[in-house]
């Protein structure tokens, strides 16, 4: 294990940020700490980096107990949401910082920095100040700066959170490719489930200071441990008191033993997908169908339709209370 977190708790005054969290992060993997804002995931990342001290519990990095080590001696690379660029230094100097304070020979520093500039595709900007870069370029610089010291683990705190949607998508795919190239154990924090599903090998879902579930993106999506995990990972709707995915609802023209009668309220065409809002016994429900289905069923407001749950779907492991 690259990182072992055991029984970590952290409070800020009355606020419980983390409550007895234990998590194992395997070497070389790309792990996402996913969860709603204020759920404690950033705090956990900062505790791993040594930027916060846990009230209880231990952190082990690469087999050594790091709980009481200062951040300087943990050999972790940290990337901040708002870049934390050294704004008075050029891009080159920013990346060289970690090497220079380690008093590496000048030639070695120059060589290493040039390699990294190339790796993150900002070699043209090496003499610029961070203020003269775009957000995406700044974040790539911050990543190169963290990688320069060859850290044991790379920690990224909402790395794409301050970027606009397009750049965000590009950088996500790029981070995945970079990780496949560099293979450093990477943990990144995000509140965006799509980002976590797309990029990570493993997702740890954290909410209200507790670890809800750990697993591959598929495991979390297909076998959610509870309703919270299910509703956080993708769209959900409620059919006779149970959470279901809207794309797992079948709409049929005729009634059957497993169907529920519903009235079509609204039909929205969103490109390939058609969103159908329904009313069942005074409860709202929505289904996601293809354009073809919508056309075949001749869906329009006021029409009576029959809803069934697609049989291939797995239920949540504990189908408990619903929201």
């Amino acid at each position: 294990m690259a990182i072992s977190v055991r029984g970590v708790s952290k409070r800020f005054g009355e606020f419980v940020a983390l409550d007895d969290v234990s998590l194992e992060i395997p070497s070389g993997a790309l792990t996402a700490l996913l969860g709603p804002s204020g759920g404690g995931k950033s705090t956990l990342l900062r505790i791993i980096a040594g930027l916060e001290k846990p009230d209880a519990g231990t952190v082990e990095i690469a087999g050594t107990d790091a709980t009481s080590l200062p951040p300087q001696r943990r050999n972790v690379g940290f990337v901040f949401q708002h870049y934390a660029a050294f704004k008075h230094m050029t891009v080159f100097k920013n990346i060289a910082f970690g090497l220079e304070i380690r008093k590496r020979p000048k030639d070695e520093v120059r060589k290493k920095v040039n390699e990294l500039l190339e790796l993150v595709h900002i070699e043209k900007f090496s003499d610029r100040l961070p203020a003269e870069l775009s957000g995406g370029q700044r974040q790539r610089m911050a990543l190169a700066r963290a990688l320069a010291v060859e850290p044991e683990v790379l920690l990224l705190d909402e790395p794409f959170g301050a970027l606009d949607a397009q750049v965000r998508k590009e950088l996500r795919a790029w981070l995945r490719r970079l990780h496949d190239e560099v293979h450093v154990t990477t943990v990144f924090v995000t509140h965006d489930q799509e980002e976590a599903m797309e990029v990570a090998d493993t997702i740890a879902l954290i909410s209200a200071g507790r670890l809800e579930q750990v697993g591959t993106p598929d495991e979390l999506y297909d076998h959610p441990a509870n309703d919270f995990v299910m509703s956080f990972l993708g769209p959900v709707t409620t059919l006779s008191g149970d959470l279901v995915r809207p794309h797992d609802l079948e709409l049929r023209p005729t009634a059957g033993t497993d169907t529920t009668e519903a009235t079509v309220v609204r039909v929205m065409r969103l490109g390939f997908e058609v969103r159908v809002e329904l009313l069942v016994d005074g409860h709202d429900l929505w289904a996601q169908v293809t354009r073809e289905t919508a056309r075949d069923l001749d869906l329009e407001p006021g029409r009576i339709i029959h809803v069934a749950r697609a049989t291939r779907r797995q239920q949540p492991d504990h189908a408990g209370t619903t929201g």
Partner: protein
């Protein structure tokens, strides 16, 4: 966040301030003219009058006045003391600003409010306070009265706020994640301060130091009581100018005033240049 995302082409990079001479849009012509007239009336014309008065007896007369032993001594004392005081302020002011922004301790707000007191107090009152504390009848039995250190202490008192108040806002705005980034890259607290924090504070420290120097060379009220104004020993330039007027040597007073004016001007320009250089160098 859009302004962050647009790459800045090299051609559009902001030019250094010194070269950014912009022609004012026509609507501003009037206000520029008004400000010029205002500044002329308030600052330039009185200064011009002093300079011309100092030249009434020609350049040699001016030179004679300025090189008189007690004038030279007063000038030297003033500049040296002001330089020393500014250097101390640069260090202590930064330190005070640091604890006021970064530390939390009881009484912090009181201290924060006290910083401006030397500024708000009439300087003669400051002089009176210092005399009570360090004078011949010192309450704590420490007497600096009528000595050169008394000049330095008086000047330190009245120039306290400058560096503190110029560094404080910059420090509050400073992104603390920069320091965390430096730490996670292996930098010790000292290295982090020297290589990451300090370079971002230097322009503000220099600006505050320049103001405190300018204030120190012109100080009158706080020094007049505690230094005893002994010519050739503890008399500072401003007091010397006053005593020249008292003894009806208006030309001498004007001559020394002109020199003080030049020293202030040179100091402010020099600090400005250093500041620009430091900002550019990063």
């Amino acid at each position: 966040m859009t302004q962050l995302d647009a790459p800045v082409p090299i051609a559009h990079r902001p030019a250094p301030a010194s070269r950014s001479v912009r022609r004012s849009p026509s609507g501003f012509g009037l206000s520029v003219g008004f400000v010029t007239i205002y500044l002329s009336l308030i600052v330039l014309i009185p200064l011009g009058a002093v300079v011309s008065r100092s030249n009434n007896h020609g350049l040699s007369g001016f030179w004679h006045q300025v090189t008189a032993p007690d004038a030279l001594s007063a000038l030297r004392l003033t500049v040296v003391a002001a330089a020393l005081v500014s250097a101390i302020n640069a260090v202590m002011g930064t330190l005070i600003a640091w604890i006021l922004v970064r530390d939390r301790f009881p009484g912090q707000r009181v201290i924060d409010a006290l910083i401006d007191l030397p500024f708000a107090l009439p300087t003669i009152v400051a002089g009176l306070v210092l005399l009570a504390l360090y004078g011949p009848n010192s309450a704590i039995h420490v007497s600096f009265a009528y000595t050169r250190p008394a000049v330095v202490i008086a000047l330190l008192f009245v120039t306290l706020p400058f560096v503190v108040r110029s560094v404080q806002p910059v420090l509050m705005e400073l992104d603390q994640e920069m320091e965390e980034a430096a730490k996670s890259l292996g930098a010790s607290p000292f290295t982090t301060f020297r290589r990451v924090v300090l370079p971002n504070l230097v322009p503000a420290i220099l600006a505050g130091t320049a103001l405190s120097f300018a204030r120190a060379i012109s100080e009158f009220g706080s020094t007049v009581l505690i230094t005893g104004n002994i010519p050739n020993k503890t008399e500072v330039a401003a007091v010397h100018i006053y005593s020249q007027i008292q003894s009806d040597n208006v030309a001498g007073a004007a001559a020394l005033s002109t020199v003080l004016l030049l020293v202030a001007l040179v100091a402010l320009v020099a600090f400005n240049l250093i500041q620009r250089w430091a900002t550019r160098r990063g």
